[in-house]
Symmetry: D5
Subunit: 160 residues, 10 copies
């Protein structure tokens, strides 16, 4: 199995922590599944920490530095701030895998809105009070299916 790596020539605007974390991950040969299990978080969240898209708690930092063999103080200083989210993907995404997700929003956006509005009223599904996961299913014919679940708190528009 190949592991996801980071080539900083291609992602020059990621935080320093990304390069620290990915290069440790590569030398330890660990998958996000293994990392996620170790820190007790979902593997999408674990990967999001690596890309500077999610905040690591003090405990996360400790466990990550242990598992990945990174100097604890270094990692702490690199991860102590608040994530500056949204810097990894250039929109519209050029990467084919990510584009497919974008296309789902483009094609089904108003259908989701219509169904959500009828089910919940006037509001939005939060992307902040939010979790997500990725699962793998294999059907009877041996085909693999990816299942991504998005779960967000429903926020009704305030009346004022």
């Amino acid at each position: 199995m190949s592991l996801a790596t980071l080539d900083t020539s291609q992602h020059p605007y990621l935080p320093e922590s990304s390069s620290t974390l990915f290069s440790a991950k590569a030398s330890q040969g660990l998958s996000f599944e293994q990392i996620a299990q170790h820190i007790g978080r979902n593997e999408v969240a674990a990967a999001a920490i690596f890309y500077g898209q999610a905040k690591a708690s003090a405990e996360d930092i400790e466990k990550l530095s242990d598992l990945l063999g990174i100097d604890h103080e270094l990692l702490k200083s690199q991860l102590s701030g608040f994530p500056d989210r949204g810097r990894t993907v250039e929109m519209p995404p050029k990467e084919p895998l990510i584009y497919r997700l974008y296309e789902i929003v483009q094609n089904y956006g108003y259908a989701y809105k219509a169904v959500l509005n009828e089910k919940f009223g006037d509001g939005i599904m939060s992307a902040i009070s939010f979790s997500t996961k990725v699962e793998k299913e294999t059907d009877a014919d041996g085909n693999n299916w990816a299942v991504i679940t998005l779960r967000g708190k429903w926020l009704p528009f305030s009346r004022f």
Copy 2:
């Protein structure tokens, strides 16, 4: 409960069928849940037909014209072609509900890619061999949560 409607002043580039379907839906007072049940499809798919984003089969057209009281020939002629997808949402989406979905792709795009690649190898989750659904959950504190599931066939890049 309010129903999703279509204001053609705001969506001048939708197909003619959208205005036929939405105005019949409004006069019949039907929700997408009711429509979906009648045609035996998921309600996101039903809404996608209304927005010209999914193809209606001959049977779907028949059932829709029955349920909604639309002349069968008219609906058939308006729905007989192939959907010209992607015309409903202007990207980046300005609509707050749809923007939240876009933001999820923007923030977690590379995290999804990393996790999917490690789980499945080099490829993409299809947005064509694909289904999706929306569910409503209410937690112990009475908060509502929207759950959107995306399920797509895994397509490995061909070796050539």
Copy 3:
């Protein structure tokens, strides 16, 4: 005093209700302050209903049709759906007044983020669980000052 009006030549993509409401407002000669008082909402919210950016409740619709002399059924049908927000302002805004607000976000965006993060932790100020108001102050030298207050619920990023 002049009243805000709507020239539909300039805003062809607003919902039909906008033109109904604004033309009734013009013939009744009512300000948003008077309209807001009548429906018991903030005047920014009242104006937002006129621009199709906020949902009117059943009671709002009744009161608006009474005050503005609009046929109740007509207004109900035009306002019954869910607002399709974000269609009024082309970004970056060309309108000088709106541009100044945009410029505040552009110039102070990261300063707000830094201060909010330090005060509240990792999260966002909701624009949905949100209210806003506009006030007028006059200083000792007779200068007028506009005061806009934005009040949003703090949403911490979920840990997952």
Copy 4:
């Protein structure tokens, strides 16, 4: 409590003073609230100085170099010019917290304009003769609310 930090990999176009100031802030472990109190300015203004978005007076520079332990001459030379504002946020903002502010302008822009015009006449709220502040409120249920106040001088369009 975490402190806001600066990762220059992510903000390569900020002025040199930003990196001087943020790295001193990190080693001193000071919040913007503490820094603002020390220099007698609002904490948003203090943060804006750090991001190169506001001018520091000679006294500000002196106080900042004292508090943060930065060589006075160095800081003076880095802060002596005029801010080149608008370089921190890429518009539309990808950062979720900043996007919410942008969305408020996008959704309520014309409502603000209509209300401001009716209250003040033809003109704009200045973003230059302007101040802003951030406050934290906690409601009876323990929810936190962020309150941002924008206060700008009203400038009527000149008649010529």
Copy 5:
């Protein structure tokens, strides 16, 4: 001498008043110089009213309807609102004359900023407390020169 006219096929998003005013101007055969003299305003301001970019006072409206032979009530209703500025020029401008002005900003923008900052300190030249005029000069060789003067109040950034 030719007169400036308006072809509404080319400017579909101008306010209704633009087409009323320009077509009356054409049938009366009046120049902006003549119109400006009649209403006692600068000719750039007069033209800006015609393009919906400046507010006409009650007196302006009266004088314009007299001079141009437009029904007074009609003109009053079309000009009673607040201008929705910025809708005439698509940026970057494609029109060669307007592009030259844009190019001046593009080429000399930072030179103006440097000189203005050194002369006035940290602030901006207002485009609201602002007037402008166009003059024609002919040099000794018979060449014509256009002279555009921009005069705006200097607004220093507030300290807060």
Copy 6:
């Protein structure tokens, strides 16, 4: 008085001469007014040379190297080519001072065109056979006003 400086972190694409000139200006503590007087040019032109937006003559180079204490050969080699104009301002400008100039073009563009066409016929005001200056006025109430004059040769479109 503060002097305009250059922070090359913020302007990485300026020519090498910009950094040579600005850093000498800073160490000599000279304003553009002083520099302009020394080389016998307008101060906007002087600043434009610093930003790589205007060509310095052989004499200008000599005088600049004398006044600023820059090695004559170095400055000559850095300024000997032809300016590659238009690289300083990103359009639309994010800098508030420069944006105000841009906004003037956006709002009054067609008004200028209409007035210029009626005064001069079909053509443009040259931005090449062109000069500009900045003046400071103070009114009776002590308010400062910036006056920018644009003077360009009128070029009629050739008949062919």
Copy 7:
């Protein structure tokens, strides 16, 4: 030989005169070469008048209305204003023939600048004091070659 025609469905923003002129051209079956000869102008200029990109003199209008059988007063009123140039081609051009011209500018732009600067000094080739023509050559092998000549006055940048 086919003649160039105008399909107004595809060019909704051209001036009214374009549709008057092109439909008369089609019914008279005239080429631009014939039209140009009749009015004594180059055929590119003649076509530019048809697309609203060049001004027709009073004589041109008279000759065009004679040749094309258009009511003289109608044509005069439609062509009396000043061209609002730049509205025909969307940039980058999607039309393959026009794209090739655009590509020449994109590929050889700096080469032209370098050669022109060395030949003429610091300045530009005017696109206003400008004429152009199209010629057809056939080589010995029977291949056709299009030759486009651009001839513009050299304008040196003013020293100020």
Copy 8:
């Protein structure tokens, strides 16, 4: 006479050969006219080689290395690949000289198309089977005129 030079701070994405060639040109003090004569090519083509926009043949490389005193092997290795054209000019061009060429395409694009189609039929003027040259003319009044000739093979669309 000044010579065209290259400031790599302003053109970071040009090929390495550009900087090799331009710096040799500067130290040899050669114009493109002289270089072109030496290699037996048009001076626009010579400049295009310098900007990485045209391929140098083996002989061109030899002659260039001789004339410019560049190590032959170095130049050969830097010029041996295939040009990656289109990277010099950012479109729309900000450089005033290049913008004028762009404006000619924008204004006369459809006029060229109409005239070319009527002269040659349905097809395009090739920008590949193409040559161009720049000439200088001086008229009786001593004005200089730049003449740019574009000559491309006519390619008819294939029938299939």
Copy 9:
């Protein structure tokens, strides 16, 4: 089998001929394969005529009007001009099928260039002296494969 149709609400900028041809195709119930056979052209070329992207010869027009039962004079007048290509697809394409083709160019663009350059030298594959076809293959497992062939004349860059 469904037939491709045209919904003019979704394609307002196609030429008038598109709506004439598509509505006749729908009432005759003909596929592009049948139409192509009748006029003796490839079916992609036939469809391109319908979308205004290819020129129909006099014979094509005659055959199309016969087959589709369209008045010959009407069709001739609508198809007599030269196609204004490039107006059907908004780039980047939002339509999923067309996006896949775009993605192939985005992902393999430089690989094609490298291989073509090594095989043919410095030049391009013409998109004008060009033909294309679509074929259907079914593999042993019953999967369908689409095969698109692009065949263009190789044009070497001219030496000048």
Copy 10:
């Protein structure tokens, strides 16, 4: 014959492996045809690996390091991750050869869609279950033709 090379000044965002591979290819003097034969893949696929657009298998890496004389461990570590596709071509492509491919999509996109839909039903041609090849043909007149074949699995939209 010239070989395709990589100038990293022009492609700063390619992965490190690109520069490793291209510089080895240059010193070995190998064409993509030779490389493709050695690793048993199509030459477009081989080139795509060089540009970071296709995944190399473990065997590919071994063979490439052998053929090109690259340290095996180095190449393995640089090629072990998953390609981050889409980063080579800036869209719309400025490179003339790649633009021609883009133009084919732009001009024939809807024609392909119509023909594919009629042949296969509602779905897309996969760009993932996909292969492509480039061939050279020489016609009777000695003209060279490039033939590019795109072969993708047909994916019907799922019914849900």
